[in-house]
Symmetry: C2
Subunit: 153 residues, 2 copies
DNA sequence: CCAGTAAGTTCATATACTGAACTCAGTCAT
DNA sequence: ATGACTGAGTTCAGTATATGAACTTACTGG
């Protein structure tokens, strides 16, 4: 099966990957979160080829992660802004960055992430929306559990 | 620049992508978390081609996300087990799945994730490790902020 | 008219991916 | 001794995707 066909799988991780799982996409999102909006900004910061960048941005617009907005009429100029849906990916990138900072410390520059509200340097902890407790390993259950699917005979 | 060259960027997101950003890798991790260990289990559940699966598993072993363990001597048989480093990716997949469940509800089957400790269905919330409060949008600062880098002249 | 800008698009070439078949190191039944 | 089987990959012809450089488009300003 082709990677481009995974959008046919109704699993959340697969559906997320169908939107943001292509090469370069996560770096585009990283830069959008940092404030990039212009095509050449994304090209300069990601170093992706122009054709691929164009393709990825179109895909993200089609999936409602970016909106392509005209910011100048003469000449017509466009920029790419994160939508609410796109913005909601911040936690994904925060947790992913934390994983790299923790497990690949010799390979990453630590920017010194700090929580404004309490003023401390911090790590993102994934907690329960209901009781507020950090989610421990093994404390997640599923009402209708995803099982490993065998290919049908 | 080539996608395979992003491991030269000392940014956490880029380094994470260098380890887990290739096509199919996130689905492999999803299935490992669900209990898959055998090559054919991964092949059946991800539907990736055998050559690509082999390549991805090797890459993950090289980067310390899996360990390749002999589970039978005669004949020699191997399985792939998540390491602590690999297991630490659970929050990434949990948050990513939550994003898809929230923003692509018509495309995903919701397995009904529940927190064992409090018994509720829940959403993963990213909180501060120091004060325990959920991280609000805009409440993260960086001591040495990542800036959008221009390509050097 | 020309140089410049920003946002893509095109194309020759290179690389990666796919599906099916194959190989390897065994085991087991006949 | 042989053939069928298992699990874990490897190989290969064909196909798809990606890359870098150049190009195109729609302007503006001198």
């Amino acid at each position: 099966m082709r990677w481009s066909e995974i959008d046919a799988i109704p699993c959340p991780v697969a559906q997320a990957m169908a939107v943001i799982g292509d090469a370069w996409t996560t770096l585009i999102l990283r830069d959008a979160i940092r404030g990039a909006t212009k095509f050449d900004e994304f090209q300069a910061s990601t170093r992706a080829s122009r054709a691929i960048l164009s393709d990825r941005l179109s895909h993200l617009v089609e999936h409602g992660v970016f909106e392509r907005v005209q910011y100048e009429a003469h000449p017509p100029r466009y920029e790419y802004r994160l939508t609410a849906r796109g913005d909601a990916l911040r936690p994904v990138l925060t947790v992913m960055a934390d994983w790299a900072e923790t497990h690949l410390p010799h390979k990453v520059h630590n920017w010194g992430r700090r929580h404004k509200d309490c003023g401390h340097r911090f790590r993102p902890v994934v907690s329960c929306s209901e009781c507020g407790e950090p989610i421990k390993r093994g404390s997640i259950t599923y009402d209708t559990p995803p099982v490993l699917k065998r290919e049908r005979a």
